[in-house]
């Protein structure tokens, strides 16, 4: 047998061994297929930044027709779920108890001052959730502005150019005309899921063999350390890809996220990323040689950073330079950039190529590093 054929035979034997081990412990199959499916379903339905049906209290201290008209504007709006009160104190109680997110206060002299053209409406928002508070503020501004413009259209005093200033802004949201937060959240979830299952699948495999001492018995056979690594990676790679396919199918058909780029780019880059994620697990696992520490490290280095630092939720450009530097070593960052483009914008090569290149480089580096720490050497 030639050396190449012998190598191939050894790798095949190792793969067969690893696959059997995987099949006999259903927990890795569950990790590769069931976990991604459950996660994408839960998060796809559960994560949303869209603000609708905001519970607010409208404090109506003025019985006039105008004040009631403004109140009605809130009642008819799809964004609010108003609760009508006559004085401020109970409304503030509701806000403290967390039952309403804001208070619109229409003071008692509202109609009289409106006729003079200097009416005031107060908005008190619960600022704890600042992002939500800001959205609520802009909705209230919109509702009040619309109502005031309606007065102006009826030629009434007090109806004002509040809604339409000298300069009007027309906004357009490219790639996501309907402003659905799910469109960018679901591709981001794909990153979270692939990061986690990739890392978890291989987190324990080397540490387990070190802990049980079975790696030493492998070392006395003719197999070489790179062959062991290939044998460890390939079965889990295929399993992770199965999870990936399930995720993409649910993104497309269940959540109706458009896929504007090509399926080939998506699959190619995702395979690269899967290799990187598996490589991280493998490297940690071979380096610490302890299942407890390996699992903790993988959970720490994959899930939370992918959630917080990948640009999936929070804008990278607004982070301080030091934190941006940290995000540069994070593979998830590059995968998020690729997915948001492939799903929503299309094959934008000026974004895709550099990011895919970095992922490829990371995969190679991780493979080399794992090989370096898995030298045939006894502890």
């Amino acid at each position: 047998m030639s050396p190449a054929a012998a190598k191939l035979a050894r790798v095949r034997a190792l793969i067969r061994k690893e696959t059997r081990q995987m099949v006999r412990d259903p927990s890795s199959i569950a990790m590769g297929v069931v976990l991604p499916l459950i996660l994408i379903l839960l998060f796809g339905f559960g994560l949303s930044l869209d603000v609708r049906d905001v519970p607010i209290a409208v404090v109506l201290q003025d019985p006039s027709a105008d004040a009631q008209g403004l109140t009605q504007a809130f009642q008819l709006s799809p964004y609010f779920h108003p609760q009508l009160l006559r004085s401020l104190a109970p409304a503030q109680q509701q806000l403290l108890a967390g039952r309403v997110d804001g208070i619109v206060d229409i003071p008692e002299n509202f109609a009289r001052r409106l006729a003079h053209g200097d009416a005031q409406v107060q908005l008190l928002v619960k600022g704890s959730d600042a992002n939500r508070a800001r959205i609520i503020e802009s909705y209230v501004e919109g509702a009040v502005g619309d109502w005031s413009a309606q007065l102006a259209a009826e030629g009434r005093a007090g109806g004002a150019a509040a809604a339409f200033g000298p300069v009007n802004v027309q906004t357009r949201l490219w790639f996501n005309e309907a402003d659905e937060s799910r469109y960018f959240l679901v591709p981001g979830l794909l990153v979270l899921v692939m990061t986690l299952i990739g890392g978890l699948l291989t987190a324990m495999v080397m540490a387990r063999e070190w802990e049980r001492g079975t790696l030493e018995s492998l070392f006395v056979t003719p197999v070489r350390s790179d062959e062991i690594l290939i044998g460890k990676t390939l079965p889990y790679f295929l399993l992770a890809l199965a999870g990936f396919v399930l995720c993409v199918l649910s993104a497309k058909f269940l959540f109706h996220v458009p896929l504007r780029g090509s399926l080939w780019v998506l699959s190619g880059v995702s395979m690269l990323y899967t290799l990187v994620a598996l490589g991280i697990g493998l490297l940690i696992s071979s380096a610490v040689k302890n299942q407890l520490v390996a699992s903790q490290l993988v959970a720490l280095t994959t899930f939370m950073p992918a959630l917080m630092l990948s640009g999936f939720l929070f804008d990278l450009r607004s982070m301080p330079a030091a934190v941006r530097l940290i995000t540069r070593v994070l593979p998830a960052r590059y995968y998020v950039a690729v997915l948001q483009n492939v799903f929503l914008a299309g094959d934008v090569w000026s974004v895709l190529l550099p990011n895919a290149l970095v992922l490829a480089l990371m995969a190679v580096l991780l493979a080399l590093a794992s090989r370096a720490v898995t030298r045939k050497r006894l502890l």
């Binding site: 559960g46 908005l123 027309q170 949201l173």
Partner: protein, 376 residues
């Protein structure tokens, strides 16, 4: 009776000591439990904000007038907007947005100044990169704010009356509406949950895999004593981690603490009890460390994402909101945020406290039962 109780207490103490030693004797393990939450709080504290402090934009000014320049200067003057390109044609817009060079394009049309001066209203177009529609929405909100200022100024300079109806806005608890103020108190629970739960699950699973758990079962320890012995060290680690995050929020990020520490720690204790109870239940079911890890991730990930930490609970469909009722983190985040920012006391937090107590009681009782009767 009392001596029995005392003996039981002593056994629990001994077991707790042994567990703490097992967890902390390894320097690497010790560091992996204490350092990460603080480092994460520090890094994520900077990263986790929906506020934007750098918005690159491209300007397409077809008017080249004093008014259009004044409008653009309004953007440039904020310190947030950074002009990265001056476009000549509307066909250039796609390139700056696609490549991610600009987050938005401000398009001022040809007749901008003439329309303004003739007393008609002029339109400007803002095109934003919707690949992250939340970021885009925030940036567009900033632009609208700047344009309202421009409008108000234009009106006063040209003798028009200012708007007839004023909306006066105020925010309670977080006057400048900084998202960081909301995120960091939420991290106290989130960062703690991951490691506390995994530590509990894995420490039992390891003993089981190594066979030492059976040895423990034949000692005079009763199952519930073993359980308490396993639960206490994780809770201690959790409390230390939570304190670390709290300290970073107060001393590093200088977010004012409005509530009482007694209420906060009472809530945290209940939360940790519930989280550890869940961990014990999972570890009672798992046979190997790999399964234990799978089960804990299967709960930790949904728990941390569907907790209100990054996206609000109220935006979830009803069925999923019901599912979050078994999530201890959901209640913990509400408690930490409301104590920290709003100064809420026990009475207001009651709706969060009793579900935690119920989760803790149920999971602890169930895991005690499984430990005793589980066929090996």
């Amino acid at each position: 009776m009392t001596s029995g109780l005392l003996a039981s207490l002593l056994r629990i103490l001994a077991l707790t000591r042994k567990e703490l030693l097992a967890v902390l004797k390894d320097r690497r393990a010790r560091l992996s439990l204490l350092i990460p939450p603080m480092v994460q709080a520090l890094i994520f504290g900077y990263a986790a904000t929906y506020d934007l402090n750098r918005v690159p934009y491209a300007l397409l000014d077809e008017d080249h007038s004093a008014a259009s320049r004044e409008l653009a200067a309004g953007l440039d003057g904020t310190g947030v907007f950074e002009r990265v390109a001056d476009l000549a044609r509307s066909t250039d817009m796609a390139r700056s947005i696609d490549s991610g060079q600009a987050l938005l394009v401000l398009h001022i049309g040809q007749d901008f100044q003439r329309q303004l001066l003739s007393g008609r209203s002029a339109d400007v177009q803002v095109i934003a990169d919707g690949r992250n529609s939340n970021t885009a929405g925030t940036a567009m909100g900033y632009v609208s704010g700047i344009i309202s200022q421009f409008n108000a100024q234009w009106r006063t300079e040209h003798g028009e009356r200012a708007s007839a109806m004023q909306l006066i806005e105020r925010a309670w608890f977080n006057p400048n509406l900084e998202t960081r103020w909301y995120m960091i108190p939420g991290m106290i629970g989130t960062l703690t949950l991951i490691q506390t739960m995994m530590l509990t699950v894995m420490s039992v699973a390891r003993e089981r895999e190594e066979g030492t758990f059976d040895q423990l079962l034949v000692t005079p320890f009763r199952p519930h004593e073993i359980m308490v012995g396993k639960a206490l060290p994780s809770m201690i680690v959790g409390l230390i981690q939570a304190t670390g995050v709290l300290v970073i929020g107060q001393l590093w990020f200088r977010i004012p603490f409005a509530g009482s520490y007694l209420v906060l720690y009472a809530g945290l204790l209940l939360f940790l009890l519930a989280a550890v109870g869940m961990g014990l239940l999972l570890s009672a079911i798992a046979a190997t460390m790999q399964q234990a890890m799978l089960y804990s991730m299967l709960f930790i990930m949904p728990f941390s994402l569907l907790s209100g930490f990054t996206t609000p609970l109220s935006a979830m469909p009803g069925a999923l909101q019901d599912f979050t009722l078994i999530n201890p983190l959901r209640f913990a985040i509400d408690i930490t945020r409301r104590v920290y920012l709003e100064g809420a006391g026990f009475r207001l937090l009651l709706p969060d406290l009793w579900p935690l107590a119920i989760i803790a009681a149920l999971t602890l009782a169930a895991s005690s039962w499984v430990f005793r009767y589980r066929p090996q």
